[in-house]
């Protein structure tokens, strides 16, 4: 009798738990480097993702009225062990249905292999750009709304070629991102007939870069390409190179473009040029409007990509009719690409309606998302210059 009582009590509990879960919000993990080398751009990225979530909630939520709830976690950008632990916590304790992140390529790879794949959780990174992630084993669970650096390398080579620059020195931050971008750029630049006089890595977080700059200056070149981070060694190298008069023109790829560096180096960057992901599609402007309304800077690097990453995973859940990652992953490519009605930022409610009606959509979003094979963005870039202390877009590619 006692056993039966216990068993029925347990059954009731389980049943209760199940029904409670249905009413539970859908949790989405937002894992970005809130501390570490990217700490100055991650707040806008998280705000971008949360903007998309707020929009879906306003439209009535997902899967018959379940609200979506963001859970933030710190990837640190550089410490794979800490990032893995944080992601593990998101999946096991917070029970997130999908992970928006991570930001830096190294920790993204670590989370993918140690947490996302073992637990079968969908992961969309807004900013991991290492070419190495294209071929990583991902059980079809990993996507990114940022293009691979293989694409940025080609764009950088094009920009330099158009400006008639044939000889550059190259320094990169000693990690997955820096190495990947440096390799991609060197290959693309040499294909267009350019010469890379030296390709030297630098360590972040040092006080003194005079030895590094000495070697770069000795190798020479018309421009110095700095594939590093705004808050770290990249800035130190440029500062030192300007101080000793080694170079006066620099090429700043995505990790280096930020208002901070323009403020600190000022006129030193007048003759420099940079590239970062961006598009002139209508979506970008709409997104910036929405961001300003929400009170954050929509022009920040990867803020739009973060919005798109979060939006895509929620639309995927709606299309799959569940939060099961395997089912959701299968819908992502179709949602992101043509055919279907184009969806811009601010139209997530409309997208959910169309999905509910069983119609095709083509998610364009803030960054003109177009996913290619390997589940990564085809890549739109803007070319920027740094005149009068601001970042000015001069061209789209």
């Amino acid at each position: 009798m006692k056993k039966i009582l216990l068993a029925s009590a347990a059954t009731a509990l389980v049943a209760g738990a199940v029904s409670a879960q249905d009413a539970d919000p859908v949790r989405i993990g937002i894992i970005l480097g809130f501390t570490g080398p990217l700490e100055s751009i991650t707040p806008a990225m998280a705000a971008g993702a949360e903007l998309a979530i707020a929009e879906v909630n306003e439209a009535g939520g997902l899967l018959e009225g379940r609200m979506v709830e963001p859970v933030r976690a710190d990837s640190t950008c550089i410490d794979s062990a800490a990032a893995t632990a944080a992601a593990e916590r998101l999946v096991t304790t917070d029970g997130v249905a999908a992970i928006m992140g991570a930001d830096c390529s190294g920790v993204t790879g670590a989370i993918l292999q140690n947490v996302a794949r073992p637990n079968g959780v969908l992961m969309i990174s807004p900013s991991a750009t290492s070419p190495g992630l294209t071929d990583a084993e991902d059980d079809n669970l990993f996507f990114r709304t940022a293009p691979s650096d293989a694409r940025q390398g080609v764009v950088m080579a094009e920009v330099l070629q158009e400006r008639g620059i044939t000889e550059v020195a190259l320094t990169y931050t000693n990690n997955d991102y820096g190495q990947g971008l440096a390799d991609a750029f060197t290959a693309a630049f040499e294909e267009t007939g350019g010469t890379v006089t030296i390709s030297a890595s630098h360590e972040d977080g040092k006080a003194d870069y005079s030895a590094e700059v000495g070697a770069l200056a000795s190798a020479g070149g018309e421009m110095l390409v700095v594939a590093g981070y705004t808050d770290q060694g990249g800035k130190g190298i440029i500062q030192n190179a300007l101080d000793v008069g080694a170079f006066d023109a620099f090429f700043l790829p995505d990790g280096m473009v930020g208002q901070v560096i323009v403020d600190e180096l000022g006129s030193g960057l007048e003759t420099s040029v940079g590239t970062l992901p961006g598009t002139d599609s209508a979506g970008a402007e709409t997104f910036q409007g929405l961001a300003t309304e929400a009170g954050f800077d929509g022009t920040g690097a990867y803020a739009g990509e973060s919005y798109d990453a979060a939006a895509l995973m929620m639309l995927g859940m709606a299309a799959a009719g569940s939060t099961d990652s395997a089912a959701v992953s299968a819908t992502i490519m179709d949602l992101a690409n043509a055919p279907g009605e184009e969806i811009l930022p601010g139209q997530l409610g409309r997208a959910l309606e169309l999905i509910a009606a069983g119609e095709d959509i083509d998610y364009v979003g803030a960054t003109a998302v177009e996913l290619i094979e390997g589940g990564e963005s085809a890549g739109n870039f803007r070319e920027v210059e740094f005149t009068d202390g601001s970042i000015e877009t001069v061209n789209f590619r």
Partner: protein
């Protein structure tokens, strides 16, 4: 013209950075060598002593800047330096009173004191981070350049620029003054002589009536002054970050040991040997050799770089090991380790 260009390039990228770095290392190594000579242990907390003194100096710099007190073109940090030294001296004297004195009275073996100093290092590490945080701090103000690249090119018509930054010049001048003062003190004053006597033979010094506690106290004050000066100069010329100061421990110890532990002249020479090796071995000599080569055919095609700059710290290690293997007492006669 070609020769001049070669010399200017060499001066700009090797000599000036190495001399500045060398003087910072020399000041650091002098502190290590004094502790070793007089207190008879290797002080692992030295890097963090530098960081602590610099932290105090930075706080006073900010206070002065806030009050609008500056030195015109000179960095305000110079004004804060004596206060930083005082704060650092109080802190190390306190450490000595609370920690080292206990072990000294026990006549603890040097190896125990080394481990104790590691403990002190970790505590100071934490104290510094607690006070100022882990990030880069920029406290340099005043003029930036004595000679800048553009005006040098315009004035001389050379292709190569020569740059002398004001903090670099201040580093050289201050380091020279500090070293001169120290040597004058050690060789000419009564207290200095009693310190040297204590270092040479402790028992004999005690017999001749030298007060050991006084010698120890003066040593710590001088060490605090040297460490804070080295730290502030490094921070002014490069930048301040607690972790970087901790890492400086290796080249500083290498300098002291290469020169001969316990020997002040050796510490200064050792500092410059390490600095020039680090910069010279990782420099790409291509440009200088191109200027010097008489014909195009002789110009180097590669970078002529012995080691990539990633291996900068490995250079100090390598020199350290070579010296310990072949000349354990260092270039100048110090104590063997």
């Amino acid at each position: 013209m070609e020769l001049l260009n070669a010399l200017v390039a060499l001066a700009n990228y090797v000599v000036i950075p190495a001399v500045a770095y060398g003087s910072q290392l020399a000041l650091g190594a002098l502190g290590v060598t004094l502790v070793y000579g007089i207190l008879r242990f290797s002080n692992f907390a030295h890097g963090d002593t530098m960081a602590f003194g610099t932290t105090i100096a930075i706080f006073f710099t900010w206070a002065f800047q806030g009050l609008g007190v500056t030195l015109g073109p000179l960095p305000t940090a110079l004004l804060a330096l004596p206060l930083g030294i005082a704060g650092c001296a109080l802190f190390v004297l306190g450490t000595d009173k609370v920690i080292y004195r206990f072990y000294r009275r026990q006549r603890a073996a040097p190896v125990i004191l080394v481990i104790v100093s590691m403990g002190v290092m970790f505590v100071m590490n934490g104290v510094v981070r607690f006070m100022i945080g882990v990030d880069d701090q920029n406290f340099a103000d005043g003029a930036r350049f004595v000679i800048d690249a553009r005006s040098f090119r315009d004035a001389t018509g050379l292709d190569e620029p020569l740059v002398l930054r004001l903090p670099t010049l201040i580093t050289l001048v201050t380091a020279a003054i500090a070293v001169a003062l120290l040597f004058w003190f050690l060789n000419r004053t009564r207290t200095g002589k009693s310190m040297r006597a204590f270092s040479d033979n402790e028992d004999l010094a005690l017999l001749s009536g030298i007060n050991p506690e006084r010698v120890v106290m003066v040593t710590w004050i001088i060490v605090a002054a040297l460490a804070t000066t080295a730290g502030v100069l490094y921070g002014l010329e490069k930048s301040f970050k607690p972790f970087v100061y901790f890492q400086l421990l290796l080249p500083i110890f290498a300098s002291a040991i290469v020169g001969g532990l316990g020997n002040p002249v050796g510490a200064v020479v050792g500092g410059f040997v390490i600095a020039f090796s680090e910069v010279g071995i990782t420099y790409a000599w291509k440009k200088v050799l191109e200027y010097l080569a008489p014909t195009e055919a002789l110009e180097p095609s590669g970078l002529v770089q012995l080691l990539s700059t990633d291996y900068k710290f490995a250079v100090s290690f390598a020199i350290l090991i070579l010296v310990l293997l072949f000349r354990p007492t260092g270039l100048f006669k110090g104590q063997s380790v």
